[in-house]
Symmetry: C2
Subunit: 313 residues, 2 copies
């Protein structure tokens, strides 16, 4: 199994009753600022406040009843955790969730209220994976990996499918990259539908493993991960990387100040709440890392889960 | 001339190229909180961040060339001001704007960047009207009143028209009331399309002129206006009041604490930015002033212009 347009279409049919067909918004001031037209696919307005509802729902509704009965398990900094908890509740099975202890309050609450059973761990990839493996041994739950899973990637790709149904004439799509689930789904869907459309991945300079890996031709973890974009701190997955090599045209990085500026612009101009990770593509435009003048650019706004009591301005 | 469904349909045809067909969003948590289904017409996502773009655009594009050449003038606490400035710019004519000196920073900036020529005045109805009358004498501009004008009301009614096109089966619609422009447009459109649909106006207890007037059968100004909902501080208009008597089923009031709570719930659950005035209908539900259990309720989210540096929590 790998990832292709057919799998993304199947995922869309499977999850449609359980997700929001999110609106695509435009803004005259942001268009003026960049000299092109921007089409924002608002996954911050998705259930659980993030695109993650798509992939988790696809994966969990793909399970056989025999698999599903033991429940599902995952590790996540937050949005995928809530998405797994929600999809598991819809399917009527338990969700065991490992979260790093530095997850923000909004994201933890978002898991708890869907009935997810949370285990906190040290905020490292190794600790997350170890804690999750332990849970799976104890419960026989099925791992729903946040990105290194073709079913999850297929679900995430449904956002681009909808975006391109609404706006088939896009010249490029900008997408944030953490582990690569959203990016792979987006790139595979878009290139299959419109081979000439360019896909640009955007990430914080403070978590630049995707850019380094893309350059090096192999997965290179970031030497030091330090970014406000808490959804993008993970290293790219082994199943994700070959798809990124094949379908993504470029990876660009942005500064922390640029992320905060872009986030605030999105709040002020568009009247929507986006989290730092979701502001990374606009930051790439405002910092001049991607040229969009005269073009029609799609942007996946990945999520909107922020702690309103701790805003970065 | 008065206000009827035909005028609202004509307005919709006139303004369609210049406005956003805003999305109607739903939220599973807010539905759970009230035991019914809520359909939020997101006029915070409208141009200028408020429904006011509709009425101002309709009024200004209704003018003859001979009238338009002298420009337009208005007085407004902010959102209507920006809407007039924007529509005037689209029409290519000057906009003279009187704003109270306590208008919030976001709203003043929103007028300036559309090229509106601002005159600040004392924050009283009398001072606003006097300053605006002076401007009109000097310039021969046409007054675009924020609410006491059938063309403006017809434009505002197009939001309800769209809401009911998308969701024809609503049982009631909740709408904030300040001067009554949005309320009249909403009520006339909704009652013409669905006579059994109930229209409930909602306002702050700290600016309860509509509730008092509705009770008394004549316009009664609020004795003391004190509310965070800066869009709802004005007294109901003489052209608006008879329409409210005829088409509105009830007027309820909410507390200041209730407005802030509802505003924060909308931000947290829906990931959208609404201003205090826009949170008043949800406050009425959460405070138990309107029963919506088991019903399908439309809510007009009137605007999203807040100063992010001065949030009320």
């Amino acid at each position: 199994m790998s990832l292709d347009l057919a799998a993304i279409r199947t995922a869309h049919d499977r999850i449609r009753p359980h997700i929001v067909r999110t609106p695509v918004l435009t803004n005259e001031w942001l268009d003026a600022a960049c000299g092109g037209r921007l089409f924002f696919k608002c996954e911050n307005l998705q259930h659980v406040g993030a695109f993650k509802a798509r992939g988790a729902t696809n994966a969990i509704f793909s399970l056989s009843d025999a698999e599903a009965v033991h429940g599902v398990a995952t590790h996540s900094s937050g949005n995928h955790a809530a998405a797994v908890a929600r999809a598991a509740r819809l399917r009527g099975i338990p969700a065991f969730i490992v979260m790093p202890s530095n997850s923000n309050a909004a994201k933890i609450r978002n898991v708890e209220r869907f009935g997810g059973r949370i285990t906190l761990c040290e905020p490292t990839n190794a600790a997350r994976e170890a804690a999750c493996a332990r849970l799976i041994t104890e419960t026989s739950a099925t791992l729903i990996h946040p990105f290194n899973d073709y079913r999850v990637m297929a679900g995430q790709g449904t956002a681009a499918l909808e975006l391109l149904e609404d706006h088939p004439g896009l010249d490029l799509i900008l997408c944030p990259v953490g582990g690569g689930g959203l990016l792979c789904g987006t790139a595979v869907a878009a290139k299959a539908l419109h081979p000439a459309l360019r896909i640009i991945a955007t990430e914080p300079a403070g978590a630049d493993d995707a850019a380094r890996s893309f350059q090096a031709g192999q997965v290179v973890p970031a030497t030091k991960v330090e970014t406000i974009a808490d959804g993008l701190r993970t290293t790219i997955g082994p199943l994700n990387f070959p798809l990124i090599q094949r379908y993504v045209d470029d990876v660009v990085t942005v500064t922390e100040a640029g992320i905060i500026t872009a986030m605030r612009r999105l709040w002020e101009e568009m009247k929507i709440i986006v989290e730092p990770s979701a502001a990374v593509p606009l930051a790439a435009i405002l910092e001049g890392k991607v040229r969009v003048a005269g073009l029609r650019t799609g942007i996946i706004l990945s999520g909107g889960n922020v702690d309103l009591a701790a805003l970065p301005w």
